[in-house]
């Protein structure tokens, strides 16, 4: 059976696409799926760093597209922790035009039969890099943070995905701060759902562990004490088709909080 090809995109930069890909890829591999992550952010590659695989790169996506390396398998880097997880890194010294959407389709087609999941890390923006990342995908995950600007860009991206016939993208809401939502200082899930109106795949709380794990090159999903890691593990299960209830964002409002909520009629 051919694998699922999922693009992770957002429009806006810095909302956590790469972190999401690293965690979902690792999470799926932990469940014994054969996974390859493709970094489509040519010229600004990060996924290798987040995975801690930077020093193992020999060939990259552009080499594969231009057929500089003899076979696609030569460019795949095996993860240092999980033997069924692979990375196809982006080229750092080229730009987005170095690969065409047709080449991306060709590359993905070559990988499809061998893997259960192909996760594509889409660059920010809506130009060539986006076209490349989306070209071969059959599913899309949109990542946003609870900020008006990120939600606006996510909305734009959902429109563009639909133009590319990816009609039912799902949403990951990243870096939610429950304390701020409770105080009414941050958009909450309902506000965002109101605008984007697509299926919510998961909510990832803001978590300092993520910064530490990103810097260490160790996805948070491997860390059992990380709240964000737990959220990503739940998302992985939902991707696999399980019904998983959304986790409580910690610290339910106390008596006073509930009273305030009542006063605001929510």
């Amino acid at each position: 059976m051919a694998g699922r090809v999922v693009v992770v995109t957002s429009g806006k930069g810095g909302v956590g696409k790469t972190t999401t890909v690293a965690n979902l890829g690792t999470g799926l591999a932990l469940r014994h799926k054969k996974v390859v992550m493709i970094d489509a952010d040519i010229g600004l590659r990060n996924l290798d760093v987040v995975m801690g695989l930077e020093n193992r790169i020999i060939y990259d996506l552009v080499d594969v597209a231009e057929k500089t390396c003899r076979s696609i398998n030569k460019a795949l880097i095996k993860d240092k922790r999980l033997s069924n997880l692979f990375l196809l890194p982006a080229a750092q010294t080229r730009n987005k035009d170095a690969v065409t959407p047709e080449q991306m389709i060709e590359i993905v087609e070559a990988l499809k039969d061998e893997f259960d999941y192909i996760l594509i890390d889409c660059p920010a923006g809506i130009e060539r890099g986006f076209d490349n990342a989306v070209a071969a995908a059959t599913e899309a995950i949109v990542v946003t943070t609870p900020e008006v600007s990120a939600v606006r860009d996510a909305d734009r991206i959902i429109g563009l995905l639909q133009e590319k016939e990816l009609y039912e993208p799902t949403l990951i809401l990243n870096r939610l701060r429950p304390d701020m939502v409770r105080k009414g200082d941050m958009m909450d899930v309902d506000d965002i759902n109101d605008i984007l109106a697509i299926k919510l795949l998961g909510i990832v709380p803001d978590d300092e562990e993520i910064i530490i794990s990103t810097n260490k090159g160790e996805p948070a999903v491997l860390n059992n004490h990380s709240k964000a890691g737990e959220a990503f593990r739940n998302i992985v299960r939902r991707i696999e088709g399980e019904e998983v209830p959304f986790m409580s964002m910690g610290g339910e409002p106390g008596l006073f909080g509930r009273f305030l909520k009542m006063m605001h009629g929510k």
């Binding site: 809506i126 909305d155 429109g159 605008i195 109106a197």
Partner: protein, 212 residues
């Protein structure tokens, strides 16, 4: 130019008015046509941002245009991306101050299924009905009415081209900006509460919003 001193050609006599039929340019009957063209050119140049192009009506009264004069008028309007939809909307009955009621041109409505998202823009000669939301960053432009069967949070321009009777209706009206004909309005900075279905239309020279 030899003109009667008691009747100077006051530039203010050339006016744009919103009639029921649409935005209308009134060119005075008196005086050489070339003069009024120069006035028009200057007026449009001063108000470039106000007149955003589109089709207008031209009221000439009893004046008859020579072919060259008509071409001159068209040329100046074209410079500001405007064109002439029709002449003399007031008809010949100049004594009747009420503009003659004319049925609106029958036109097809555009039915949009789903949400109009940021970066998407829809245009239609006629009405537009959206079965979904209009999100911030999205735009809808119709020469007729706009009806959003959901939340209108983006930019809606009804009556584009000058139809001042056009209306904007939404189940939740929370726009970034509303435009009807040539009139613009911004939503108040802070609007509390959802008020249910509302309609926006032109009253006087302003856009007003009422519960439907």
């Amino acid at each position: 130019m030899l003109l009667p001193a008691i009747n100077p050609l006051n530039a203010d006599e050339l006016v744009f008015k919103g009639l029921k039929q649409g935005l209308t340019l009134f060119i005075p009957e008196k005086g050489p046509f070339q003069h009024w063209l120069a006035v028009l050119d200057q007026r449009l140049d001063e108000a470039k941002t106000f007149f955003q192009g589109g089709a207008i009506l031209v009221e000439l009264g009893e004046r008859k245009l020579a072919p060259g004069e008509l071409a001159g008028l068209r040329r100046i309007l074209a410079k500001y991306r405007m064109r002439i939809k029709d002449f003399n909307p007031l008809g010949k009955k100049k004594l009747n101050p009420r503009p003659k009621e004319r049925p609106l041109l029958p036109s097809g409505a555009l039915l949009v299924k789903g949400t109009v998202r940021s970066g998407q823009r829809l245009e239609n000669e006629g009405d537009i009905v959206v079965k979904g939301d209009l999100n911030p960053g999205g735009e809808i432009v119709a020469t007729g009415d706009i009806i959003v069967l959901g939340a209108l949070r983006g930019v809606a321009h009804a009556g584009a081209g000058g139809n001042m009777q056009a209306e904007i209706i939404a189940f939740t009206l929370a726009p970034v900006q509303l435009r009807i004909a040539h009139i613009f309005s911004r939503a108040p900075e802070e609007r509390k509460g959802r008020l249910g279905p509302e309609v926006a239309y032109i009253k006087g020279e302003k856009i007003v919003v009422e519960r439907l």
